[in-house]
């Protein structure tokens, strides 16, 4: 969704500043992507702390576009994750149970951290599965 209407400007275009909050973040994303490609080093960018003008965020998300992966994590409210049209550049939007925004981040990684199975959960995974297998053999599942 590109919002080109809300950016401060005048009709003849003379006074549009050669600066844009969304464009500045794009440069950060490029640096993060370079680190991922060259060193397999994931990075995150918090979009809350950016001095965006009206429309900058929408323009940034518009530039990034949408890729082929989207997911929703339900933990303390919904977290919506989608890969942008640039592979490895993910948008992670955290909301609380009442859909109020908690955080919005760009995560440059192979897979965003919140989508991975958590190590502490994996430690319990076998026991959990065995418990279910036991319940199944006893005819409880």
């Amino acid at each position: 969704m590109i919002d080109s209407e809300s950016k401060p400007s005048v009709a003849d275009g003379r006074t549009v500043p050669d600066w844009d909050g969304g464009w500045a973040v794009m440069r950060q994303i490029r640096e993060a992507l370079r680190c991922l490609v060259e060193r397999r080093e994931p990075r995150q960018i918090d979009l809350r702390g950016q001095p965006f003008a009206p429309g900058d965020l929408e323009r940034l998300l518009g530039w990034l576009g949408r890729g082929e992966v989207a997911a929703t994590v339900t933990a303390l409210g919904p977290t919506r994750v989608w890969e942008s049209a640039i592979p490895g550049v993910w948008v992670v939007e955290h909301r609380d149970g009442e859909e109020r925004p908690l955080a919005l981040q760009i995560e440059v990684a192979e897979v965003p951290a919140i989508l991975r199975s958590q190590p502490e959960d994996l430690e319990r995974a076998l026991a959990l599965l065995d418990e279910r297998l036991g319940a199944s053999s006893a005819g409880q599942l």
Binding site: K7, D18, Q44, D46, P51, L76, P101, Q105
Partner: protein, 365 residues
């Protein structure tokens, strides 16, 4: 009361999953204006953190700070009260009143001596003032502050009234109002000014204390540098217009409609340190400058006495908008000169300003 359980244990008992905890820590890092790389450290610290007891004292205030906090989006006040802290006394929010409320405060102090946090909103009549200007349960504000602070780990002065005296302190200061830091010298004091402060800054300071168990790095005015380290002007999205010398001259001229810099309309952004430009208000929706209103400088000391909110102290009264437009790239030079003039004029006005009389008020109406 403060709990023996850690926050991690508390969250797990509530059925919060590891992903939920990770999300909680991510939101907390964002809240504290920390980089996302700090999330693992925050997770480790919060896992072991215990809920501190908090005693909130409201003195000469308008309840605007509490109003702002209870409308905070992240975390909600419910999260704040039940998950982050144990709010044991807040006479506006608590159900108890009178002696029962005061007993709750005394009990919280006794049970958590040396470890509880004291939050103060509002200024208070100083030691030399008539204590009758502000009392709670018949106790003068100063006496209550003195006895409550004695067993505190730290004091957080919320809002410009508690931090700097605020509106009660404005000339002619009829109640002899003073700031918390004028009276508390033997405990760490953290100032979180603003009229009101950004809700996310208030909760961010609390979260930072909870996470790391220590007060954050402070500036010369005892404000956390994480939130007050940069001026509104330096983080303002209208800054490029300032650099080009493009200013709105009235609230409805071409410049105002085009989103130009509001400096000439009285914006105090260059001399105001706060996080409004990046954190924004109402859950990150907008902030005054984005809505077309100049920054009033509400997080700075004595901003009520700094002159007309909407008059640029730095701009000559015969300033010509057309000339500015023609100047184009020379605007930065004009802006720099305006800053110098602002400082001279502010000094001059501070020297010569006389209190407004009742007769003058009548005439203005």
């Amino acid at each position: 009361m403060a709990e023996a359980k850690t926050l991690g244990e508390h969250l797990r008992e509530q059925g919060v999953s590891r992903r939920g905890f990770l999300k909680f820590c991510t939101a907390t890092a964002s809240l504290m204006a920390l980089p996302p790389t700090m999330v693992p450290a925050i997770a480790a610290a919060l896992e072991q953190a215990r809920r501190p007891s908090v005693i909130w004292l409201s003195f000469q205030e308008c309840t605007g700070c509490t109003e702002a906090l209870t409308r905070s989006y992240s975390p909600t006040i419910e999260d704040l009260i039940f998950d982050f802290i144990s709010l044991d006394y807040h006479h506006t929010l608590q159900a108890a009143s009178g002696d029962a409320a005061e007993h709750a405060r005394e009990e919280a102090m006794r049970a958590n001596w040396g470890q509880y946090l004291v939050i103060v909103d509002g200024s208070l009549p100083g030691p030399d003032a008539n204590p009758g200007y502000s009392t709670i349960a018949g106790i003068s504000n100063w006496t209550m502050l003195e006895e409550t602070v004695e067993g505190a780990a730290a004091v957080i002065a919320i809002g410009s009234c508690a931090a700097f005296g605020g509106l009660p302190h404005a000339r002619p200061n009829p109640t002899g109002a003073v700031a918390v830091m004028d009276l508390v010298h033997d405990k760490p004091v953290i100032n979180v000014p603003g009229c009101p402060p950004l809700p996310m800054v208030m909760t961010g300071v609390l979260a930072q204390y909870l996470t790391f168990g220590q007060i954050p790095e402070l500036d010369a005015y005892l404000r956390p540098r994480a939130f007050f380290g940069q001026s509104i002007h330096d983080r303002c999205y209208r800054r490029p217009f300032y650099d080009k010398g493009l200013f709105a001259a009235t609230f409805d001229d071409e410049g105002a409609r085009a989103g130009w810099c509001l400096y000439r309309l009285g914006c105090k952004g260059p001399s105001t340190y706060n996080a409004c430009a990046t954190m924004r208000w109402n859950g990150g929706t907008s902030w005054p400058v984005e809505a077309g209103a100049p920054c009033l400088g509400c997080s700075e000391s004595r901003f009520w006495d700094a002159g007309d909110f909407y008059k640029a102290l730095s701009v000559p009264t015969d300033f010509d908008a057309g000339a500015v437009l023609a100047a184009g790239a020379a605007g930065a030079v004009i802006g720099g000169a305006a800053v110098a003039l602002s400082k001279r004029r502010a000094r001059n006005e501070a020297t010569h300003r006389a209190p407004v009389t009742v007769d003058e008020l009548e005439q203005k109406q």
